[in-house]
């Protein structure tokens, strides 16, 4: 439901500024929302570097945006308190990209009924219809699942619904704030003529006989087979779980035929990376003896390596038998490559083999941890609280997730710091670690998922009701707890929400699949976001921006900024590397510096040594001459003396 007029469009890469006023958690959530746009659309975002129009995301009052590019130079978008949810950010940026709310479509009366006497008085104008002279639904059917749709309780004056869907099944679907719907993406990709996305690479559920262009390697002793069932398991594929007759295929490597050591390699088609980092996600089923193994390689086609360079990325052993398991493998490939899956039969007899299904490959960051919850239906009915196993963040903080199933309608999710092995070496209270918790929608295609995600950030200054620091050391501010094996530990206060998702929504889509639920976890240090934003000066007029920054090409990710009207390149730098030079054309690193320092020291030392040797030699030769001259004189004297 888009605003009509090309002048309202943004360029595919939108310049933005995250203003200092934003809360830290909001900054991290906004960057995560950008990743969802980069995966599912052709919209990208870049830090503002002097362009005429840009989006300034700041902490205003509430969550709001303008509709479309209004050519204001600095176009404000507010992510205020409580707006730091990823779907809220996606919603507001869809407004900025030119979309109205779904229920204001010209044809909405075919699909919903507005109950006017249940609307707060004076708020009726929020339910207007707009005819197709100002908004265009882009030939896409009405979308109850849109992230742009009001919920049934919008602007209600009591407890009754203000919106009733004509298909009652959608009554509790409207107003979802999880992720883009399929139709949201269809409209956005149509409005911006998207042909590809920045970070999606491949998705394969093996339903087509061409198995997504994957190939069997010749460097092995067996082949993977495309099957829909194996006697020793699995009974069904993962994509459809036996729901659809004559469909539901996966790739199977039969280890029961060969003796130990039989191998089968399945290679992806050739892929072309853009970002230099990737995440491979797939489901694996082990029906053989426990010691089957899956190795994941990359075959990178670098200069001079016609057949590619095979690099082992991950060995997966001890694969649980009898159910589909989710795995992630992080890659960092910069040249064209294939992903290679090598099944290896374990020693000794084996009854079945390995099966793989629902592979997704994208240039995104893999989640750091997976919490696999099995037999979920039983837990749901138990109205209990479930704690995850302990995990460690990349900085070394130990943590645990609490899934609160005690409410009959809502599911809560909380993040707890717990006592861990590194506590003595860590900074307390825990500073600026952002925990992102995602309930995975297990749709086989990563682009069609509407995973439900919330993030929280540890603010070291946050205090509890009793005045202690909430994120202080768990052994100091936590409570005593026990792992299932009886080991005692301390658990800090949980921080999260009791309304993470409704039970009804959790049972929808593919959150619950094969009675399994996955919660993906990432805890990362976002203290670098505390820095001062590239505070834009007065909105530069077209002329200055045009004359200055537009003539300067900063390289290697440098950002052109105006300093007293002059275009200057701000060069990126990391922990031990930096770019320098007028255009950031030169790269420096501490390693180089050390090498230069050492080599110059050695050179100086060698030169000094040579000079010393030469001077010693000359001195010795000079004195030897003198000595020999004296000796000669002495002899002469002696001759006469006797």
């Amino acid at each position: 439901n888009s605003i009509i007029g090309d002048n309202y469009r943004w360029p595919h890469t939108i310049p933005y500024v995250l203003e200092d006023s934003l809360e830290m958690n909001a900054k991290g959530v906004i960057l995560n929302a950008f990743e969802r746009y980069r995966l599912k659309t052709c919209i990208d975002f870049k830090p503002w570097s002097g362009e005429e129009n840009y989006i300034s995301v700041f902490k205003g009052s509430g969550c709001w945006s303008s509709v479309g590019n209004i050519h204001a130079g600095k176009q404000e978008l507010s992510i205020g308190t409580n707006c730091d949810r990823i779907a809220t950010v996606q919603h507001e940026f869809l407004h900025a990209l030119g979309f109205w709310h779904e229920q204001s479509r010209a044809d909405r009366d075919d699909y919903i009924t507005i109950v006017w006497d249940r609307i707060l008085s004076g708020k009726e104008h929020n339910f207007n219809i707009y005819n197709d002279s100002v908004s265009d639904s882009l030939n896409v059917p009405y979308d109850y699942t849109s992230v742009m749709h009001y919920s049934k309780t919008a602007f209600q004056n009591g407890t009754e619904s203000t919106i009733i869907t004509k298909i009652s099944d959608f009554e509790d679907v409207i107003g979802q704030r999880m992720d883009f719907s399929d139709y949201d993406l269809l409209k956005l990709n149509q409005l911006y003529s998207c042909t590809s996305s920045l970070s999606f690479m491949d998705s394969c559920d093996f339903e087509l006989e061409n198995i997504c262009g994957m190939i069997q390697s010749s460097q092995d002793s067996a082949d993977w087979q495309r099957l829909s069932q194996v006697l020793s398991g699995p009974e069904n594929d993962h994509s459809n779980m036996g729901q659809c007759k004559d469909s539901g295929f996966f790739m199977h490597f039969n280890t029961s035929t060969g003796n130990g050591g039989v191998t089968a390699m399945l290679e992806s088609r050739v892929l072309y990376p853009k970002r230099g980092f990737q995440c491979v996600e797939f489901y694996l089923y082990n029906s053989g003896s426990g010691n089957g193994q899956l190795n994941v390689y990359t075959r990178e086609y670098t200069a001079g390596h016609q057949d590619g360079v095979l690099t082992l990325q991950r060995e997966i052993r001890d694969i649980p038998t009898g159910s589909w398991q989710l795995y992630y493998v992080t890659l960092q490939v910069t040249e064209k490559f294939r992903v290679v899956f090598e099944g290896v039969g374990g020693p000794g007899a084996s009854s079945g083999g390995l099966s793989i299904d629902d592979i997704n490959l994208s240039e995104t960051r893999c989640p750091h941890h997976i919490w696999h919850i099995q037999n979920f239906t039983q837990l749901l009915g138990g109205q209990t609280t479930v704690y995850s196993p302990p995990f460690y963040s990349s900085k070394g903080y130990a943590f645990q997730i609490n899934l609160d199933l005690t409410s009959p309608t809502n599911v809560g999710l909380y993040f707890h710091l717990i006592s861990g092995a590194n506590d003595d070496q860590l900074q307390w209270p825990c500073p600026w670690q952002q925990a992102t918790m995602t309930l995975l929608d297990q749709n086989p295609d990563i682009r069609q998922r509407m995973s439900n995600q919330r993030s929280i950030t540890t603010d070291p200054k946050m205090t509890d009701d009793n005045g202690s620091y909430l994120w202080d050391r768990p052994s100091k501010v936590g409570v005593e707890a026990f792992f299932p094996n009886g080991t005692q530990f301390s658990r800090g206060r949980g921080y999260g929400t009791s309304v993470f998702i409704t039970q009804e929504r959790l049972k929808s889509r593919e959150f619950l699949k094969g009675d399994d639920v996955y919660i993906l976890l990432t805890v990362e240090d976002i203290s670098h976001l505390n820095s001062t934003a590239a505070v834009p000066g007065p909105v530069p007029t077209t002329s200055t921006v045009h004359n200055a920054c537009s003539e300067v090409e900063c390289q290697n990710g440098g950002i052109c900024t105006l300093q007293e009207g002059r275009a200057e390149c701000k060069c990126p730098a990391g922990e031990d590397w930096w770019y320098m030079g007028k255009r950031c054309e030169k790269r420096g690193s501490t390693k180089d510096t050390i090498v230069i320092a050492v080599s110059s020291t050695v050179t100086v030392f060698a030169v000094m040594l040579i000079i010393t040797l030469i001077s010693v030699y000359c001195t010795r030769r000079k004195y030897r001459k003198k000595a020999s001259a004296k000796t000669a004189a002495m002899n002469l004297e002696n001759q006469h003396a006797f």
Binding site: W64, H95, Y130, R493
Partner: protein
């Protein structure tokens, strides 16, 4: 441990965008749209 040793950032209420803005007394177009001069 106290029954629920947790801090609920949503206070137990699943507030939508429009609820947040309404509570703040904002009177934005359709709840979260900042209209411009050329607005609807």
């Amino acid at each position: 441990a106290p029954e629920k040793f947790v801090k609920d950032i949503d206070g137990g209420i699943d507030q939508d965008i429009f609820d947040i803005n309404e509570d703040l007394g904002l009177d934005l177009f359709e709840g979260d749209i900042k209209l411009e001069a050329s607005g609807r």
